[in-house]
């Protein structure tokens, strides 16, 4: 770093404005401080400048500019990422896509939707619903996350169990490569095997391979009926057993979401919708599809829940009540911040028949290290979010959090699981990557990275460290 970062920052912006006419560039200390973080706890770094391109051509020019000077570029959507993916690296340009947010086309004949990468997920879903179609992926952050960010993290949601994750809805992408070339990969065809499916490489690439500027999404017809239920438990393992049993009974409901007692109470403090505060665990269950099938599936799941120790299973009486339950569930992570000033959230995922063991491990680990923890997650996907409720100013406690985190990861891997199901590796999990996937995998990933980005200017240091 130079002695006076803001002087060099303004020099850089001046050059950039000259190079890309009309580009919105911000470099005041206030603007830079406002892009020093994403949704991840305890990470902070300021960029040299923040740019807001309004079209693909501007994105391309910015990358040409950066490539010629080897300036790192960190792509940002809405900055809700939970692994530090859009946290700047020192001296970088943050390229923010929130002003490229148009929904360009909804094609009801081919069931596709084309949007700019900065479009907000909820707006995409609403545009689809506007013509009677359905875009299922619904991450907890959908009201503000961008579709580009969803692609870059391959985000999941509350409906992952039945409908899959973002990847399952990507038909095509427009991507700007690190040298500024603009590439289309994919199309409106249901089938296409002309060469490698490059599109898939960008899904979950966390802004390290290219900048996604347009997204072509697959839409589906919406289900005709829905039924939402809340199963109440006096112990967490029984909730996990219920999930395993439902899957084993060959039922694939749309949603199987889990909340533990700490989370229930935080969510209730915020939403005040009458969740049972005394319960040790809740399962939010939703079945959707043909009305008759929904009834049958729901009845079967009620029986399974009761057989596995659910005290009570409440059925949402109205669509509004069902929606408010799902909305409340989406606030779980943020609501947990009511307990401790720093919330460190994990994303461990295991095969679904190993859920009871994983739940037990989380409880025991928290107890052993004397840590406060709240757990919620997409249990139907085997994806739990144990969240440490701590204080980053308490170094001793933060150390215990680190130890606990390592143990939980180790156990998840032992059970055939992974360190992150949907939030990505970013900065937060990169030290665990090779343990999770092995050195060979990391080596191949590095080779792919250098094939696309030989100079290493796109989001350097995320997922893995650059090759020495």
């Amino acid at each position: 770093m130079t002695a006076n970062p803001s002087a060099s920052a303004s020099f850089l912006s001046q050059q950039l404005r000259g190079f890309v006419p009309g580009l919105e560039v911000h470099d005041s200390p206030e603007q830079r401080a406002a892009y020093a973080y994403d949704g991840t706890a305890a990470l902070r770094a300021e960029p040299a400048a923040v740019v807001f391109p309004v079209d693909t051509a501007q994105v391309s020019s910015v990358l040409k500019f950066a490539a010629a000077r080897r300036i790192p570029v960190v792509t940002r959507g809405s900055g809700t990422g939970l692994s530090g993916g859009s946290v700047p690296v020192d001296g970088c340009l943050v390229l923010c896509l929130t002003k490229m947010n148009r929904i360009i086309e909804v094609d009801a004949e081919n069931l596709t939707l084309l949007a700019e990468a900065g479009a907000v997920t909820a707006d995409v879903a609403a545009a689809a619903a506007g013509v009677g179609l359905f875009y299922p992926p619904d991450p907890g952050s959908m009201k503000i996350s961008t579709i580009g960010g969803n692609v870059a993290e391959n985000s999941g949601g509350l409906r992952g169990l039945k409908y899959g994750v973002t990847r399952d809805y990507i038909m095509g992408l427009e991507v700007v490569l690190p040298d500024g070339e603009v590439m289309w990969t994919g199309n409106k065809c249901v089938k296409d095997v002309a060469g490698y499916t490059l599109r898939d490489l960008f899904i979950g690439s966390e802004g390290t391979l290219g900048i996604i500027t347009k997204v072509l999404l697959k839409l589906i017809p919406p289900p005709a009926a829905r039924k939402t239920m809340l199963a109440v438990y006096d112990n967490m393992e029984n909730a996990a057993k219920t999930v395993s049993a439902i899957i084993k009974a060959k039922i694939i409901p749309c949603t199987l979401e889990f909340l533990d007692k700490v989370t229930i109470n935080c969510v209730e403090d915020y939403a005040g919708i009458g969740l049972p505060r005394e319960a040790e665990a809740l399962l939010l269950i939703e079945s959707d599809g043909h009305p008759a099938a929904v009834e049958e599936e729901a009845a079967a799941m009620v029986a399974i829940a009761k057989a596995n120790g659910a005290g009570e299973v409440k059925i949402a009486a109205t669509a509004e009540e069902a929606a408010s339950l799902a909305a409340a569930r989406r606030t779980a992570f943020s609501a947990l911040a009511r307990v401790g000033p720093t919330t460190i959230l994990e994303d461990a995922t295991v095969p679904r028949n190993r859920l009871p063991e994983m739940v037990r491990c989380i409880q025991e680990t928290a107890r052993r290290h004397n840590l406060k923890i709240g757990t919620f997650g997409h249990m139907g996907d085997g994806n739990l979010h144990p969240t440490f409720l701590t204080n980053e100013k308490n170094q001793e406690e933060m150390h215990r959090v680190e130890l606990a985190m390592k143990e939980i990861f180790a156990r998840a891997i032992e059970l055939g699981g992974t360190i992150t199901g949907e939030h990505g590796v970013g900065l937060a999990k990169k030290e665990f990557l090779s343990a999770a996937v092995g050195e060979l995998n990391v080596g191949v990933m590095r080779s792919i990275k250098s094939a696309f980005d030989p100079q290493g200017i796109l989001n350097p240091g995320k997922i893995f460290d650059p090759r020495p």
Binding site: A34, A36, T331
Partner: protein, 441 residues
């Protein structure tokens, strides 16, 4: 410069924001600009950067705090329970203390408005009276006709058509100091007449008193009331706000009332926090906490005591829509009660307003300090109101009331603006066999 309050603030208040971004879509200034520093999360990050010495408090931060509407939509949206109102007041107060925004004109105007006019109720009424004379004598018409408004500085010129129409009478000329309900007394309440409400909407204060009387409340309304200090608190004048709070508590001893009633949402959301404002004041802390407990918005109080549904002769129902004042729905979390009152009034049919809790741009003195943004929000609000097809819109705050009147007038709209309590008062008055519900003592 003295130590910044942001630095001495309990740090966990700042840390409470875990930067999840869930508040961003509800923030009107973020919605307009898509810039992080114009969002709640960004603003809190700037405050924290100042507290942590990553950022110096400069004019750009001052401007940011001025650009924030203080609408508190972010508080409603925030699952983590961030107390944005508190952070915002602390930050604004630091901006004032640091003097980074000082320029001679701003200082004179601020002193005139905040430190003189809004601390001297009699003077405020006098100015109000002159404004009224100016309007009714036709001087306003003449002034505009002759193009003399062009002589005003640009900012004032934009404001001039916004100046509210002042009523011929103030509250104390319409409401006796103590009024008794006819049908037996169930409660004893104090009535706050407010500053703007008193100047411009004294009739709504009368309506409020009538509604209280109709529901068994003895109404105590001291003729001269100090400003509650909300305008000072929201604008960084912490010490003046404390002085005003003490005067208010001196005037209304909270231990002698069942409730102290305000009908101005902007005042209410400040009035409910005297406890915090005077926490370190040994003489006042106890009374201030009691005050917080007793302070009720009129809508809240009416529903709490189970207000009487007016009797009616069947009439063609008229549509009414409801705009939520930010400081009622976000600041005080009062959303159901005004709707319940509107639904209970015979002959009215409540039609929901799309984006009913999106700020109308009034936001205290925002339409004076940030006219461009205020105008954009005003137009957006007017368009939504028009889309409902309702001939009447009700709201619960004098600032919003004026903002809607002005916005609708500029759009040549026929929609009338009123307040739920006025509609209720009117319904009681037109009940079959209605008599005067109060006697004056």
């Amino acid at each position: 410069m003295s130590e910044l309050a942001l630095k001495s603030l309990d740090y966990s208040v700042l840390q409470q924001c875990m930067h999840c971004g869930m508040c961003l879509p509800t923030c009107p200034t973020y919605d307009l600009t898509k810039l992080e520093k114009h969002s709640p999360r960004g603003r809190i990050a700037l405050m924290r950067a100042i507290a942590d010495d990553h950022l110096a408090l400069g004019p750009a931060f001052g401007e940011e705090m001025s650009y924030c509407l203080g609408c508190l939509a972010c508080e409603t949206a925030c699952p983590a329970g961030v107390d944005y109102a508190h952070l915002f007041e602390v930050a604004r107060s630091d901006v004032e203390k640091s003097g980074v925004m000082a320029n001679p004109v701003r200082s004179v105007v601020r002193t005139a408005l905040l430190k003189i006019l809004f601390t001297h109720p009699r003077l405020l009424r006098l100015v109000g009276r002159m404004l009224w004379l100016y309007q009714v004598t036709g001087a306003q018409w003449l002034f505009r006709r002759l193009g003399l408004t062009r002589l005003l500085p640009a900012k004032l010129r934009e404001l001039e058509p916004m100046t509210p129409t002042v009523l011929p009478k103030f509250s104390h000329q319409l409401i006796a100091p103590v009024e008794q309900p006819t049908g037996g007394r169930r409660y004893r309440v104090g009535l706050l007449t407010g500053c703007v409400q008193d100047l411009v909407f004294a009739d709504i204060n009368r309506d409020t008193a009538d509604v209280l009387l109709a529901n068994g409340c003895e109404v105590v309304t001291p003729p001269v009331q100090p400003c509650c200090g909300s305008i000072h608190g929201h604008n960084g004048e912490h010490a003046v706000a404390q002085v005003m709070a003490r005067r208010m508590i001196d005037l209304f001893d909270p231990f002698t009332f069942d409730a102290i009633i305000t009908n101005a949402a902007g005042c209410g959301s400040h009035l409910k926090h005297y406890g915090r404002l005077l926490a370190d004041d040994r003489d006042y802390a106890v009374r201030a906490r009691e005050w917080d407990r007793k302070l009720k918005d009129i809508n809240e109080w009416l529903v709490e005591i189970g207000f009487r549904v007016p009797a009616s002769e069947a009439a063609e129902p008229q549509k009414v829509t409801y705009h939520e004042a930010c400081h009622l729905c976000h600041g005080q979390k009062i959303t159901k009660q005004p709707r319940e009152i509107l639904r209970a009034i015979p002959g009215l049919e409540l039609t929901e307003l799309p984006e009913s809790n999106w700020c109308c741009g009034s936001a205290g003195v925002y339409n004076i300090t940030q006219p461009a943004t205020a105008a954009v929000l005003q137009e957006r609000k007017v368009a939504r109101i028009e889309s409902t097809g309702a001939p009447v819109v009700a709201t619960c705050n004098p600032g919003c009331h004026l903002q809607l009147v002005n916005g609708l007038r500029q759009a040549d709209s026929k929609v009338r603006v009123t307040q739920p309590v006025s509609l209720l008062a009117q319904a009681y008055r037109t009940e079959p066999g209605a008599t005067n519900s109060h006697e004056q003592k």
